[in-house]
Symmetry: C2
Subunit: 319 residues, 2 copies
Amino acid sequence: MNVTIDFGGTNIKIGLVEGGTVMAKTSLPAYSGNGLFPRLPVVVQAVHELLRQRGADLQDCQGIGVALPGIVDSDDRRLIATPGKYSDAIGIDFGEWIQEAFSLPCVMENDARAALLGEAAYGMAKGARNAVMVTFGTGIGTAAMMDGQVVRGAHYQAGILGGHLTTDIHGGVCICGNKGCLEAQSGAWALTARAAGLNGYTDSAWARKTGPLGYEDVIRAASEGEEWAGRLLDDLIGHWSAGIVNLIHAYDPEVVVLSGGLMKSADRLLPRMKERVLQSAWTPWGTPRFVVANDPDTSVLLGLSHLVKEKFALTCEMG
Amino acid sequence: MNVTIDFGGTNIKIGLVEGGTVMAKTSLPAYSGNGLFPRLPVVVQAVHELLRQRGADLQDCQGIGVALPGIVDSDDRRLIATPGKYSDAIGIDFGEWIQEAFSLPCVMENDARAALLGEAAYGMAKGARNAVMVTFGTGIGTAAMMDGQVVRGAHYQAGILGGHLTTDIHGGVCICGNKGCLEAQSGAWALTARAAGLNGYTDSAWARKTGPLGYEDVIRAASEGEEWAGRLLDDLIGHWSAGIVNLIHAYDPEVVVLSGGLMKSADRLLPRMKERVLQSAWTPWGTPRFVVANDPDTSVLLGLSHLVKEKFALTCEMG
């Protein structure tokens, strides 16, 4: 059994994983704007509580897997950079923290990469050796797998910055510093500002909604006949599709895994996105397969457990 | 010594390569719109003539390397797809043709990939294990190398479609079928149509020029104070820079190799492109190095020879 911890922007998800099954899980609010440090003691306590509930012990565990948003040095187990969230965690030695807190070895990975590993090992992309993943959340996380290996790159940046490929050179500035990124045009955090630029939005009831607009708001408003929302949704579908085409052109996958909150509306959106992507992508070999992850949270936890198994099974054999 | 043949869109370049040196080379007009078959006898003759001039013989050669634009199956030595040029060559067995024509084994590769291999083995990116290449010609060719291996992908598409990542979702339709590709916005073939949309162009002497606008025309017109050309050049620099940022975000390179006819104006363009790229790219690890290939034609020939050496040296050892 492995302990897996996914430090998400909104919630911290903790799971006990055995093979391809999450045996138990829990979730804590992240308060990620306040940083990571204040949450560490609470996380440690939650792990112990989860083990206790299962009648298990740390000694039953092979290792611990940790996922974070941002650029993660998976060899040195440090967070290199993150756009806004958990900024106090940059540079801290997660291996040391885990060792001190749990006396167990650990692996660390970017959350989208962990999710793709989970989907490829146990999920909707099982058996795929060439795949890309797009997670539509507050931001747009991506990952790529080529020839059975998750793509990491020389500085751990490759594959995970698909949300930061420019799709509209005339678009807004992104939190990453680039202009017109897929995420700046069509990530959930960009929706309120994008809607504000459309005729009819500021006069609508939606402009008086508490909190920022989410994907579901735009989809609902569009289905209620709000013109601004219909136009925004068309534009978003264009961007999401262009972003997927960019990933297909960059990494040459057989499978495209889609995930995140937006995929609650997959029935409505996926046919339109798929049509656009297949019209635009240049794939003379055939057609990439589209799949939707069953549960985005679980993908990350399974992927982390897979990494723990891969890394420490090898160590045992070598030891 | 190796024979190398680069079937370019405008010219077919043939070289005899020994180690990192092109010992002799020649060039023939390609007439690529008419297809490849009519040129094959002329190419065979030119190879024999070049060998004769060097006082060499086919028996002095280890193998033959062939480069083509488009998607190349380097294992099966066939052209899978090509945007317009040499369309009669799709599917033909190049290994068989070379064997029949020269009684030598052969390798085959996409031209931009061969160019990057040449630059990494012998040229401006020598020693780099993580690099991207952009060749600004009639189209925009790209290639990527990660961890010392040229990126090919499951269907030989990865790395070479950087010119077909969307940079302007509202842009024109590309020859590949996608919308707003870097190449459709800023490749040489797109310049005449782009200029035609700008105020002042149709009234200028440049609109009456014979043949399509080239990069050098736009640069010259801009430096002569033509307003349409100044605006177009600014826009092109924006696109080229966004395209390079997309490649940096996708493949995480240490070195960016720029090549092709446009780089004759590197003195004027490169500082502006570099500034834009470094402002926009998210690379917390540091700054990728920019280099310009000394001679685009030579890069391809050297890369092909490197591939021949790599492939058939191994066969000899194994045999």
